[in-house]
Symmetry: D2
């Protein structure tokens, strides 16, 4: 298995950027495997993802900040680096509907999602059997209107103790508070069971049914303070017809949600997502 470094970069575009980055890696002995860049918007904001083989690379990645500092400063680059080997620590929050949960656990087990899942939290006891089957610590934290602040403190405490880097809301039916969200900026992914921005909020399948659309969707997005308004990571759709009942929509929706959420999680943990304003750039 390859041992490579993945560097994500963001900065205003300037002549010579690609050359400066490629040169830096080359002169330090790195062999570039992938180089993808994008210049977003009319002002051509520069976003890039570079991956290089660490075989023969001449310094340790923990010294990267020091070595890269002059270039980062010259071009005002904000960057993040990881090793391809690194498996981020992911927590799953779930309520009663467990299709996304079961799907994520399966994909993680067979190696499709290269992450650790050291923590599952639910406000219902039902999901525990899946946690047990996959040997994942499970915490039941019931949430009522009154207990919510206390419940969130407990949740955040667990996330911290487990050094969680990504929180996945796998059909977790509670709205998180602003305080919670602010502690995990661009680190909480939610699945909404509609084609956003259509059918924001509660009961999107019922809304879709009532409006008589011919196609339904699902949307994975980063969670921000405004409900269902964060940067969209991935969407998928399925055709429906007048024959489909609400139950049919729910069933077709499940297949969409599983695929969309798992893809968003995979892109996140593989460091393929950069933000530009309220939009995502996905380096597939």
């Amino acid at each position: 298995m390859k041992n490579s470094a993945i560097l994500l970069l963001r900065c205003p575009d300037r002549k010579g950027l690609d050359a400066a980055i490629a040169d830096f890696i080359y002169w330090h002995g790195g062999d570039i495997l992938h180089f993808e860049q994008h210049q977003a918007g009319e002002e051509r904001f520069y976003l890039a993802r570079v991956e290089w083989d660490l075989e023969g690379f001449e310094f340790d990645l923990k010294d990267f900040p020091k070595w890269f500092a002059p270039i980062a400063e010259e071009f005002s680059i904000r960057w993040r680096i990881t090793r391809s080997h690194y498996r981020p620590r992911v927590a799953i929050l779930v309520s009663k509907y467990d299709h996304c949960l079961v799907d994520l656990l399966y994909r993680q087990r067979i190696g499709e999602l290269a992450c650790e899942i050291p923590l599952m939290i639910s406000n219902h006891p039902d999901a525990k059997r899946h946690a047990d089957f996959h040997d994942i610590p499970f915490h039941l934290i019931p949430v009522t209107k009154e207990s919510k602040p206390e419940a969130e403190r407990w949740q955040i405490e667990l996330l911290r103790q487990n050094n969680i880097e990504l929180v996945v809301l796998a059909r977790y039916m509670q709205v998180l508070s602003r305080e919670f969200i602010e502690q995990y900026p661009q680190q909480i992914i939610n699945i909404h069971h509609s084609f956003l921005p259509a059918f924001v909020g509660a009961k999107p399948h019922q809304q879709a049914f009532d409006r008589g659309v011919k196609i339904i969707g699902a949307t994975a997005h980063y969670v921000t303070e405004v409900l269902d308004d964060g940067p969209i990571i991935e969407q998928a759709v399925a055709r429906i017809s007048h024959r489909d009942t609400i139950e049919d929509l729910v069933q077709k929706g499940r297949d969409l949600e599983k695929v969309v959420l798992s893809r968003a999680v995979r892109w996140h943990i593989e460091n393929r997502i950069l933000l530009y304003g309220n939009k995502t750039v996905i380096f597939e």
Copy 2:
């Protein structure tokens, strides 16, 4: 080419409906080619489309109302009948963007759309060359805020003179008045360049671009008094990515709009669409 009758029916469901309809056709010598029914909603409202061969059918279709009256009355059926041979008269209204227009004209010419197009109206002169190429009478009716009532009177006059049965808004950029719409209930089809109900109103591609969606769409719907709110007939979508500019969205959108609008028009002229509340039932 087959010579058949197409009967559309709507009524509250009651035991024996299918039998009564199939019997009626059979006892009068009709050979049923297609029989499709749907029971909509929890109250099971009955909607059906029946097509039968007129070879050997024992009375002329102009006498159908008389013969069918007892059954229609017994079951409170609202119905509409046409011959498969019949080619409805369609008018196209268009502004500057002519991709849907050119597409509709081509499909009509090669026989994909079994209708007459005796009338084209535009508020711009550009489309005239296409009307000329296809030998379709063209009327230039400019529309300003002031002249709109007068323009609409002229338009309606033309529709009447030409016995128009369906008005297709092929990217016609003027909002029709309530008075206009009321005269053509469920007889005006519009194409909206978004996946409704997302991005209602002006500049849907810009709205989609700004929101950062990963999929764009197009929607054909019957025009009602509320903008972009009428019964949806057909929708289609296409994937986009961060690489796509507004111009790319517009281009991808054109392909969606052509397919979606032409499909809606075809289903309408082939008598495949029934309304139930604000929703369409499509008997494909």
Copy 3:
């Protein structure tokens, strides 16, 4: 939950068929919920699926053959009847890849697949843990070239003992013998990981990769004596690009296979599939 009867019919088309069937049900007190028919091919072979509410129906379904005999004889109808309540008995055969297996078990558990699964057979021990999790009897039957006849005898014995009505090959990697197949005509569903008829046989993902296709697929079909040649029940596809490795194809393929196979199984157990020659008619 509704208590209804589902009748599937096949016969040469003749005037009066729809009327005869609808009448029969009506006169015996049945309230038709769905009536869908199709006339296949130029000779208009008649295929239909009728579902009616048994509330108020005047005889027991076990007497249906007797009562329906005159009509069946008159029109040379071959038919099959079941109650909507009935849950057919399904066996799953699986090898090492367990994504389809896990998917089917999950769907059955949450009620998406209305069947019993009293039997799982595998030539590898790995799947046993999933059988245990879902309390399904599991039989390990290793298969070598030499032991195959003996293994098949054992398999068939198990299928018989368990009164199995449908055999699902959920990525079961052994080719069944003609003798096995003949005992379960139109009762064995296989998933092939290509868009048939492209890439028949072994390693379809490798074949697709080598050919450089831009779209991959999966196909669920009834098993017949000729490999990968039986009637196609369902297919689905996904886009790929030059960036996708064989492993990416395998991963994207998994999502297709799960959806396609489960849909085929669902249509089969809901009595929605009729055969006409080597083709399927799906009454969705």
Copy 4:
């Protein structure tokens, strides 16, 4: 409108390639707008597309070969350069079915296809009216089994006189000879009305209908000596059901063919296609 250079490169991968290319452009004053590379296969064959702004670039592109020679030699790079302004000269060959032709002409007229179309050749007179409408020189060259060599000589003569760089077979129903094809390597694009490699050769819709597939497709590919076997550029698919007749397949196929062929042509004339073995790499 931007004035940029587009450079396509192919060579065995070697450490420092990205740096060498980016450096070269930067040191000569070029501002890189897009840089996309791909390392194909296990041997990591390097393919790249670089676009840079010519504003401030210090030498004329006609001197590019001279300046780039040292790098090209060092890395054994095969390359091709064009200006974004350049509009390649395209000939369209067509027979009776004119949907792809009309579609291509429309897209060219509205600017979606940035090319010149100075030549149309057909073995039927029907397409002439479209050529006239778009002011494109039209040549009728009938082809019989006997006249084919003579017809091809005439065709090639016309292609030469018009300095044609790309030949588009827009449902041209004659098989080109090996001699013809060899003169335009990777410069002839064909549309085949099936999802290749399924249904090679004649009457693919009939083949698809007979096999009972649930999805049909269309494939644009470069023409090579082996029929329907050249590198695939683009494919698209559409669902069909048992209700669809051959005519329905043909109609649905038309929409696929138009989209697929026009996309392939656009990618070709925008220099987005590189070949690696018998496969295409598309830099979208």
